[in-house]
C-alpha cells in the first residue's frame, strides 16, 4: 500500500453543508403514489363443438392485449398481464409478429370440418420482423434458440436448411403495411413431438396460470389422451381503437383438442367437462374482462338431438368459416352460471362439409426417384376460387421442377403465379408458391417428381430407417361464403371468429395444412466406415506382407537330403570304419 502525501494549505473555509451529520443507508424523498391505470386486458374463451364423427372439439383461446407501442423502438420493461419472458423477446429481437404452434396429431378436415385456427403437425414458426432489423437471418437464428428455451421445444433445429421466405402465402395478420418478405421467416419442424413439457411453459404465460379460470381444465394427462392436440401463441400488433392512431400488442394463446369420447366413454354418447378434462370449473379468472364458454348447438336448435345441463338462456350467433352457427353461451363472470351441477350432456348430428380440403402423398417405388402428389378439393357446387399453395421441400429431395404438372378434371390447369426458389445443398430448401384456380366441385392434383439425394453419414438422424419428414403444404384461400361475414371491427365478436382479418363480406379466409410426408432415403449401413477401414487395411496388409517377404527373404538352394536307405547304409558303414557313400 502506498500513500502519497502532498500538503496543501488552503485558507479557512466555511463548511455549511456539515449541518446535519447522520448516516443513513437510504435517502429518499417521499413521492405520493398515484394510482396506475391498468392498460392491459385479458379475455378467455372455450368453444365446444360436437363433431359429426362423434368426437368433441374443444378450443380454448386466451387473449391478452397490451397497450404498449414497440414499433418506434421504445424500451418497455414494466409488465402487468403480458408475460415478461415473451415481452423481452419481442423487444430484444424487434419482432413485429410472431406465430408459433405445436401440434400433435393430424386434423382430419373431411371428418371434423375446419378448425378455428389451423396448424400443421409438429412445430410451426413464422415471424415478421420490424423493418429496422438489419441482419434478419442472425436475429432469426437467435430468436429460435431463445424460443426453444422458453417453450422447451427443439426449435433450435431450425436453421437455413428448413427456413423459407414465402413471397405471398404468409401475410402479416396484424396492422402494418410492411409486406416486404425479406422480413418474414417461416419454418416447420414436422418431426417435433408435443408433450407435457411444452404445455407447462405455455400455461405459465397465462396471467392466472392454471390456478383459476378456464385454464384449470388444462390437465395434461387428459389433453394428451386425445386424437388431436394443438397449442399456439400468436402475437401481433392491433389497433387500439377504430381510428387506429396507436397500436397495442395482442397475445393470443390458443389450445385445440379433439377428444374421442367413443372409445373412452364406455359406448355412451354423452360427455361433460369433467369427463373430458377430469376437472370442473369453479370460477373465472378474476383478471379476465370476459370469460365465456360457447357450445355449438346449431344442429340442436329445438333440443331434439341433445340436452344441455345446466341450460343457458344466452344464445349467440356467429359466422365462423362461412357458416352461421348458433352457440349457447355460459358467462363465467356471472355467478349464476355456477349452479348445482356443472356437467353438460349432449348427442351429435351431421355438420357442414368443408369447401376446401387437401391431402398429399408420395408415389413411386425404389429409393432413387419419387413423386409428390398434392390433391386439393373444391367442394363448392358452382363457384371456383383461387388458392395459394406453399410447398417447402428439404434439399435432399431434389425436385425436378420441369415435371411440375397441375391438373383438374383431367385437363391441365395453368397456375397464374409461380414463385420457385431452387434449393442449395445443405443451405436452403426448395420453396414453391403457386396461385391455382380450383374449378367448382373438383379435385386438382399437383405433381412433381424428385430424386433422393445421398446424405453424408453424419447428416442422418439417429433413426434413419424411420424416414425423413417433409413439412405440410400450406393452402391459403379466400373461400366464397354463403353467409355474409361481419367485417366491422368494432362489434364484439367471440375470439374464435375474429382471428383472421376479414375485408370482404362474401368470402372468408381459410388456411389448410396437408399431412406431413414421410420419405425414406437410401440409408447406409452405419458400421460401414469401420468395416471399410478394416477390410482395406487387411488387403493392404496382405499385399504389403507378401511384397515385403519377396523383398527381404534370402533364397538358397536346398541340399537334397539322402534317402532313408542311404542313411541307414551310412550308419552301418561308419560302424565298420568304411567311408560313407
Amino acid at each position: 500500500m502506498w500513500i502519497g502525501f502532498s500538503l496543501l494549505m488552503p485558507d479557512c473555509f466555511s463548511l455549511s453543508f456539515l449541518k446535519d451529520l447522520h448516516w443513513c443507508g437510504v435517502c429518499m424523498s417521499v413521492a405520493p403514489p398515484h394510482p396506475h391505470t391498468n392498460t392491459d386486458s385479458f379475455q378467455e374463451e372455450l368453444v365446444v363443438r360436437p363433431l359429426h364423427s362423434g368426437d368433441i372439439y374443444a378450443s380454448f383461446q386466451f387473449r391478452t392485449v397490451w397497450e404498449a407501442d414497440f414499433s418506434r423502438g421504445n424500451k418497455v420493461s414494466h409488465y402487468q398481464l403480458f408475460p415478461k419472458s415473451l415481452g423481452q423477446v419481442i423487444s430484444k429481437f424487434s419482432v413485429r409478429e410472431l406465430h408459433i404452434s405445436f401440434t400433435q396429431g393430424y386434423w382430419r378436415t373431411m371428418q371434423w370440418g375446419q378448425p378455428f385456427l389451423p396448424s400443421p403437425p409438429g412445430a410451426e414458426l413464422w415471424v415478421w420482423f420490424q423493418d429496422s432489423v438489419t441482419d434478419v437471418d442472425g436475429t432469426w437464428k437467435e430468436l429460435t434458440n431463445v424460443l426453444s428455451g422458453i417453450f422447451c421445444a427443439s426449435l433450435n433445429f431450425i436453421d437455413s436448411t428448413n427456413t423459407v421466405q414465402p413471397s405471398a402465402a404468409f401475410k402479416p395478420l396484424g396492422v402494418g403495411n410492411v409486406t416486404d418478405h425479406r422480413f418474414l421467416r417461416y419454418a416447420t419442424l414436422p418431426r417435433e413431438i408435443v408433450c407435457t413439457e411444452n404445455l407447462t411453459p405455455w400455461k405459465k404465460l397465462l396471467p392466472c396460470g392454471s390456478k383459476a379460470g378456464l385454464a384449470v381444465l388444462l390437465k395434461s394427462e387428459k389433453l394428451f389422451h386425445s386424437s388431436f392436440h394443438s397449442q399456439a401463441v400468436h402475437i401481433r400488433p392491433i389497433c387500439q381503437d377504430q381510428r387506429c392512431k396507436s397500436t397495442s400488442l395482442e397475445l393470443r394463446q390458443t389450445l385445440n383438442a379433439v377428444f374421442d369420447l367413443h372409445t373412452s366413454g364406455q359406448a355412451k354418447r354423452e360427455w361433460s367437462l369433467f369427463k373430458m378434462f377430469s376437472r370442473t370449473l369453479t370460477e373465472a379468472c378474476p383478471l379476465a374482462s370476459s370469460s365465456k364458454i360457447y357450445i355449438d348447438i346449431t344442429d340442436n336448435s329445438q333440443g331434439e338431438q341433445f340436452e344441455l345441463s345446466p341450460a343457458s338462456s344466452l344464445l349467440s350467433q356467429a359466422v365462423v368459416l362461412g357458416d352461421r352457427r348458433t352457440f349457447s353461451v355460459y358467462d363465467l363472470t356471472d355467478q349464476a352460471t355456477f349452479g348445482s351441477t356443472r356437467s353438460l350432456n349432449l348427442l351429435i348430428r351431421d355438420m357442414l362439409r368443408p369447401l376446401l380440403h387437401a391431402e398429399r402423398y408420395v408415389a413411386g417405388y425404389g429409393l432413387q426417384t419419387g413423386e409428390i402428389h398434392t390433391v386439393m378439393y373444391n367442394h363448392h357446387p358452382y363457384r371456383s376460387f383461387p388458392v395459394l399453395l406453399l410447398d417447402s421441400v428439404p434439399w435432399y429431395l431434389r425436385l425436378y421442377i420441369h415435371t411440375l404438372t397441375v391438373t383438374s378434371k383431367g385437363k391441365e390447369n395453368k397456375p397464374s403465379y409461380i414463385h420457385y426458389q431452387p434449393s442449395k445443398d445443405r443451405l436452403r430448401p426448395h420453396l414453391l408458391e403457386m396461385l391455382v384456380q380450383l374449378p367448382p366441385n373438383s379435385a386438382t392434383e399437383v405433381t412433381v417428381e424428385f430424386e433422393r439425394a445421398l446424405l453424408k453419414w453424419t447428416e442422418y438422424t439417429p433413426d434413419p430407417n424411420h424416414g425423413f419428414y417433409v413439412g405440410s403444404s400450406v393452402i391459403s384461400s379466400l373461400v366464397p361464403s354463403t353467409v355474409a361475414t361481419n367485417t366491422s371491427i368494432t362489434q364484439e365478436q367471440p375470439l374464435f371468429s375474429s382471428f383472421f382479418p376479414c375485408k370482404e363480406e362474401l368470402s372468408y379466409f381459410v388456411r389448410v395444412y396437408t399431412e406431413p410426408l414421410l420419405v425414406n432415403l437410401p440409408t447406409p449401413d452405419f458400421s460401414m466406415p469401420y468395416n471399410v477401414i478394416c477390410l482395406t487395411c487387411t488387403v493392404v496388409a496382405v499385399g504389403y506382407g507378401s511384397l515385403y517377404n519377396l523383398l527381404t527373404r534370402s533364397f538358397q538352394i536346398e541340399e537334397p537330403s539322402p534317402g532313408l536307405a542311404k542313411r541307414i547304409a551310412n550308419v552301418i558303414r561308419r560302424m565298420r570304419g568304411v567311408p560313407p557313400l
Binding site: W2, I3, L8, M9, H34, S91, Y530, Y548, T552, F555
Partner: protein, 549 residues
C-alpha cells in the same frame, strides 16, 4: 586323386553357393533396413503431420506468471493542512509543499474544496483542520464527506512547535484508518478473493458477508416482481415506473462505471410462498419464522422466469402481498422478534418484502379491495437490499468517525470507489483463474483444436490482465476496472468457445481400433526382421571375438 579332385570341385561349388547365399542374405537385409528407414523417415512424419490437430500458439509463459500473481494496490491520498495546523517552518521543511494563495474568500473556499474533490476515482483528499475548529462536534474526530474527501481534526497534543516528522508520524495511522474506511481494507480484498483463494476463516459472519454480494459481472438484470396470490381479494396498483425513476435509477446511474444494469418489473398472480405461515393467536397475525425462510423462494422462483434475452445474473426483488386469509403476515428473526422492515434477502439472489394490506380492509368492504402500494416504503427496503447485494459495503466506521448522509443518488463517491476496488481485484482474480485453468486444460488434453480466434482471445485477456494489474499498482482505479472487465470478457469468451469441445470426447481406444488393422500387420514383419538382423550382427561379432581369442 580322383577323390581329391572331386573334393576340390565340391568345395568350389560350396563356395559359390555360399557366396550366392550370403549376397542374397545381404540384399534381403538391406531391403528390410531400407523399408524400415522409409517407414521411420517418411511414414511416421507423414502420419504425424496428417493426424495432427491445429494448436495455435498460446502465451503459456505469461499465463504461468499470472498464476502466481502478486497484487499490489495503491491509492493516491492527498493530505491538505488547513491554516493553523502546521507552522510556516514546518511548511518550509516539507519537500513537496505547494502553498496556495493565502487570500481565499470564504465562499471561494467551498468552491475550491468542491473543485479539489473532483479528484480522479480511487484517490482521496484528507483535510487536516485545527483542533479548535468548530466545524465538527466535540467527540467527532473524522468526518467523511459525500465525495472523496475527509476532514481530520488534528489531535490536541499536536500543538505548534512539533517537528514535521512527528506531525507525519502522528497523522499516518489515522490516515490509514480513514483509507481503510474510504477505499479498501484487508477484509474487502479478502472477501473479493474469497471465491478464488482459500483463506483461513476468521469468523462465520465475515464469510457470510463475503458470500452475500453478487459476483462481479459486466451486467446485471434487476427484476421487481409484485406477487399477488389472491387477485380475487386484492386489486393492487403499484407505480413501479415512477418509483424506479425516483429511487433506483440515480443509484444505477452512479454505478454505471461498475456494470450495466437493466430494469424490469412484472406482476405475478397466484404466486404462493412455499411455506404455510403459522398463526399466532396472541397477536392475531401470521408468522414466518427465520428457519422457514429458506423454503420460501423455490416455488416462487419457477414463476419468475429467467431473462431470455441475456445471460447476466438476475437480482430479484419480490413484493409479496399475502392473501386475505393469511393476513397480516410478519417475519420473525432468529430471536423470535418481529423484523422491522418485514423483509429479508437471500444471498446472491435478491430480496423479498411482505407488504400487509390489512389497513385497507374496512368493515363491510366487498372484495376485491383496491390497494395503492406505498412505493416509498417499499423502495426504501429494496434500495438497502440492492446496496447489500451489489456489495456496497457498509462496514461500521469507528466511533469517532462521522459519515455524511449520502446524496440523492444513495451512494457516496468513496463508496463507489470501494466497490470499484473490490470489483477490480475480483475481476482480475476471476480472469486469472479462468485463463490459467483453460491453459491447464489445453495442456492436459492434447487433441483439442486451438483455433486462432481462441489464441487471440487468450492473448488479449492476458494483455488486459497485465494492464489491469499495472494500473492497480499505479492507482488508476478507473482504468484498472476497465481493463479487468475486458480481461474477464475475453477470458470467458475463450473458455466457453464451442470449438474447444469438438474433439474433446474422441476417445483414444477408438483411434487405436482404427489404427491397429493397418499398423499391426505392417509393423510386425519390419520389427521381426530388424530383430533378426540385430541378433545376427551380434552373433557374428561374438564369432569374431572367438576367432581372435
Amino acid at each position: 586323386m580322383m577323390v581329391g579332385m572331386e573334393r576340390n570341385q565340391y568345395d568350389a561349388e560350396c563356395f559359390l553357393l555360399y557366396y550366392l547365399f550370403s549376397s542374397e542374405r545381404r540384399r534381403g537385409k538391406l531391403a528390410a533396413l531400407s523399408i524400415a528407414a522409409m517407414v521411420i523417415l517418411v511414414g511416421v512424419p507423414l502420419w504425424w503431420k496428417t493426424t495432427q490437430t491445429y494448436r495455435a500458439w498460446l502465451p503459456v509463459a505469461q499465463i504461468n506468471e499470472l498464476a502466481k500473481l502478486q497484487l499490489q494496490l495503491s491509492a493516491d491520498v492527498e493530505v491538505v493542512f488547513a491554516r493553523g495546523t502546521a507552522t510556516p517552518e514546518q511548511q518550509k521543511k516539507v519537500p513537496v509543499t505547494q502553498t496556495q494563495d493565502e487570500d481565499h474568500a470564504v465562499d471561494e473556499a467551498d468552491l475550491s474544496l468542491h473543485r479539489l474533490s473532483e479528484s480522479p476515482c480511487g484517490s482521496l483528499v484528507i483535510y487536516v483542520i485545527p483542533e479548535s475548529s468548530s466545524l465538527l462536534p466535540e467527540n467527532v474526530n473524522v468526518y467523511i464527506g459525500q465525495r472523496r474527501t475527509a476532514l481530520l481534526r488534528i489531535g490536541a497534543q499536536m500543538k505548534v512547535g512539533k517537528t514535521l516528522k512527528q506531525l507525519l508520524a502522528h497523522l499516518e495511522p489515522r490516515v490509514k484508518q480513514i483509507l481503510q474506511v474510504m477505499s479498501f481494507s484487508h477484509n474487502d480484498i479478502t472477501a473479493a478473493l474469497s471465491d478464488r483463494v482459500r483463506f483461513s476463516p476468521d469468523n462465520k459472519e465475515s464469510i457470510a458477508d463475503s458470500m452475500r454480494a453478487f459476483k462481479s459481472s459486466p451486467g446485471y438484470e434487476i427484476t421487481f416482481s409484485l406477487l399477488n396470490p389472491d387477485p380475487k381479494s386484492h386489486r393492487l396498483h403499484w407505480d413501479i415506473e415512477g418509483a424506479v425513476q425516483t429511487y433506483i435509477q440515480p443509484l444505477l446511474t452512479k454505478l454505471s462505471p461498475v456494470a450495466n444494469f437493466s430494469l424490469d418489473s412484472q406482476i405475478l398472480y397466484y404466486a404462493m410462498l412455499g411455506v404455510n405461515p403459522r398463526y399466532d393467536s396472541s397477536r392475531s397475525a401470521y408468522i414466518l419464522n427465520a428457519d422457514s425462510l429458506a423454503h420460501v423462494i423455490n416455488p416462487v422462483e419457477a414463476r419468475l422466469g429467467s431473462n431470455a434475452a441475456s445471460s447476466n445474473p438476475v437480482l430479484n426483488f419480490l413484493l409479496y402481498v399475502p392473501d386475505a386469509h393469511h393476513s397480516p403476515l410478519y417475519i420473525h428473526d432468529h430471536k423470535k422478534r418481529e423484523v422491522q422492515t418485514n423483509a429479508f434477502h437471500s444471498p446472491r439472489w435478491g430480496g423479498i418484502m411482505v407488504y400487509n394490506v390489512n389497513g385497507f380492509y374496512q368493515t363491510g368492504t366487498n372484495f376485491p379491495v383496491d390497494v395503492n402500494i406505498n412505493m416509498a416504503k417499499v423502495m426504501g427496503v429494496f434500495l438497502a437490499q440492492l446496496r447489500l447485494l451489489l456489495g456496497v459495503q457498509s462496514t461500521a466506521p469507528p466511533s469517532s468517525f462521522q459519515v455524511a448522509p449520502c446524496g440523492s443518488s444513495g451512494l457516496a463517491d468513496w463508496e463507489l470507489d470501494r466497490l470499484m476496488w473490490s470489483r477490480s481485484v475480483e475481476n482480475v482474480a476471476t480472469a486469472t483463474t479462468t485463463i490459467t485453468s483453460l491453459a491447464q486444460l489445453l495442456d492436459q488434453i492434447g487433441n483439442i483444436v486451438i483455433n486462432d480466434n481462441i489464441a487471440q482471445q487468450v492473448s488479449s485477456a492476458v494483455t488486459s490482465l497485465q494492464l489491469a494489474v499495472a494500473e492497480l499498482e499505479v492507482g488508476n482505479l478507473g482504468f484498472a476496472l476497465q481493463y479487468s472487465k475486458e480481461a474477464i470478457l475475453a477470458s470467458e469468451k475463450a473458455f466457453f468457445d464451442p470449438s474447444l469441445l469438438h474433439l474433446l470426447y474422441f476417445p483414444d481406444d477408438q483411434k487405436f481400433a482404427i489404427y491397429i488393422p493397418l499398423f499391426l500387420p505392417m509393423c510386425v514383419p519390419i520389427l521381426l526382421s530388424l530383430l533378426k538382423i540385430v541378433s545376427e550382427v551380434r552373433q557374428r561379432r561374438r564369432e569374431k571375438q572367438a576367432k581372435k581369442d
